[in-house]
Assembly symmetry: C2
Amino acid sequence: MEEYPSKLLQNAVEQFASLPGVGRRSAMRFALQLLKWEKAEAENFGRAFIELCREIKYCKTCFNISDKEECEICSNPHRSDRIICVVEDVRDVMAIEGTQQYRGKYHVLGGIISPMDGVGPADLNIDELVQRVENTSVEEIILALSTTMEGDTTNFYLYKKLKDSEARISTIARGISFGDELEYADEITLGRSITNRVPYEGTLSR
Amino acid sequence: MEEYPSKLLQNAVEQFASLPGVGRRSAMRFALQLLKWEKAEAENFGRAFIELCREIKYCKTCFNISDKEECEICSNPHRSDRIICVVEDVRDVMAIEGTQQYRGKYHVLGGIISPMDGVGPADLNIDELVQRVENTSVEEIILALSTTMEGDTTNFYLYKKLKDSEARISTIARGISFGDELEYADEITLGRSITNRVPYEGTLSR
């Protein structure tokens, strides 16, 4: 690798390059961009990450990222405590909130079971979910994890842990996306969408 | 856009997204990655950028990024003062240094003339170059800018400013890259490489 004319520059480039999917070339571009900014802007840039990691909290109930002890969703009295939607991380919460179709609570696992990445059940907020289901009157648990091997494994593990509770366990529907053409759908998805067909409601889908 | 569950998270994501070529999705991935790190690592991450912008210096002679008043190259007595290689930014210095083919000095313009981006001659270290050439006994000035419209414009502007000096003005050779196949070369490059043909030296090119 080339030699950097400055340790400060080298350090900044190496820090950027430690982000997922960022190579040396992009990292260098980022560092040179920073140098074009006002000093105050660059200070704010660096400080945002220090503050994020220093001050971030996780909701004591659902483990979503939050600025307070309990997140906005858990402390909202208009949302039902009877349904818990189990997701991998905050991005899924944001995506589901974006649909405005869900008025229950969440439980954020903080990852999914992935032996390849060294993530086991003990690394996730699974015991906390089981306790939460035991201690409150939950009627339904929606497993909303990715449709990957890891997602399926985690679903199965959660099912075994939760099946003796009072709560009904469901997963989000899999099928052909709106706007997708049938001929391009993969076989598993198409097969499942036929097996799990639903009554036609006689309305336009959008 | 979705609503963030935390201002701290939102701020970090927005800061990342202000980097060139980084969208919201990547920015979110970066922020969640930071949260997985040790606190000390994340502090070092943020601090690297604050220190970069607070403490970085530019060499008083060639304007390359440096940790000192004068850069390693300018203060190296084994490098010739008689040749100055004019480049756009520190990346070009690093690339040329990487070839180990050049033993002269540099002059870093800090950009190229680009009316579209609002960069004019006054924004670059051009007057400093002209003064440097006037005040020292420079024999050759190598213009090593990109082969773009902006690079050509800047070359022409520099030529007009420098042509009355004692120094010879040259540009780096354009032609077919080593390992490139002729049929895939663009017409301008191929045409120039024929016009500017050089005597065959009877040795293997690598």
